[in-house]
Amino acid sequence: MISDLLLMNGYGIYVWSSFAFTLVGFLSLYFIISLQLKKEQKRFEKNFSMLSDEKYNVAINQEIYKEILKNSGSKI
């Protein structure tokens, strides 16, 4: 029964390779975008921690900066 599912009357190689290509494509794009997001979050955290006190006080009051830090799990 399992071999029937795999072989699919001789069309298995075409069907499975199509689905495999699609899923590999999904996984690759998901990981690429996840890595890019994490990289930018880390860069943001680093830049934020290097701000002078005066600039820090300006930045920390901006909603968008607070939200970015919150989402990157930062403890700043």
Binding site: M8, Y14, T22, L29, Q36, L37, F44, N47, E67, I68
Partner: protein
């Protein structure tokens, strides 16, 4: 109206939505895969090779839908001068190009058992390949031009120009003699496809749509953080 496109508002919604969309995507994809690979019947003519339809067709539909949206947003950029629309378009493009590639590759794989060839310069396939080039050009324009205003303008022009290709892809099967069959599913008429095949097709389309939403949300946040990183330096 453009308050809805406020980056902070979108960023906040995005962050919450990502996990929900990811969860929904996994569930819908799992159901779709079981339906497409095991529960749906084989075709009387194409036998089991018809199962390729469940990845090929949704990928083609969504790649067209995404490019149409990008073109519409790019046109709106010129009308409303809202740069956030560029950010939305740019974030939609990665999943769009992936779906175009999936449509081309799975179409090629499907072509071998069905038509006896991996590739044919038929109107539908060629116009899909052109769409892939437009996606590539669109994404490259952001990397090639360092000046942001210039890259925004050029990418928008590419998207608007590329939109001409969309009706060509859609109606290529009616306008020319192609290897592709005419559309089996229409929004206005009764579907020519049996419900046992239509259901998995709809579920897989929903899964693919959820994936493109997920990638969009992640990419949008990435691009926004990139901009805010530059903003930090200018404080």
């Amino acid at each position: 109206m453009f308050d809805y496109f406020n980056p902070y508002r979108i960023f906040k919604i995005n962050s919450t939505l990502q996990k929900i969309v990811f969860f929904c995507f996994i569930i819908v994809l799992s159901i779709g895969l079981v339906e497409a690979l095991f529960l749906s019947p084989e075709d009387y003519l194409q036998k089991d090779s018809v199962r390729i339809m469940y990845v090929h067709v949704p990928a083609a539909w969504i790649s067209l839908g995404i490019f149409s949206t990008i073109a519409l947003l790019s046109f709106s950029v010129f009308v409303f001068k809202n740069k956030n629309l560029i950010l939305i378009s740019k974030s939609l493009a990665p999943s769009g190009i992936l779906f175009t590639l999936i449509a081309l590759v799975t179409g090629s794989i499907w072509g071998k058992p069905t038509w006896g060839t991996w590739w044919a310069w038929d109107a539908r396939i060629t116009s899909m390949l052109i769409l892939f080039f437009f996606y590539t050009l669109y994404l490259l324009s952001f990397r090639i031009f360092e000046d942001q205003d210039r890259s925004n303008k050029i990418s928008s022009i590419i998207a608007i120009f590329g939109a001409i290709n969309i009706p060509i892809i859609k109606f290529s099967v009616d306008w020319w003699n192609t290897l592709h069959q005419p559309a089996s599913i229409s929004l206005t008429e009764k579907s020519a496809i049996h419900s046992s095949m239509l259901v998995p097709l709809v579920i897989m389309t929903a899964a693919f749509a959820l994936f493109s939403v997920l990638i969009f949300l992640m990419k949008y946040n990435t691009e926004l953080i990139k901009i805010k990183n530059k903003g930090l330096k200018r404080l």
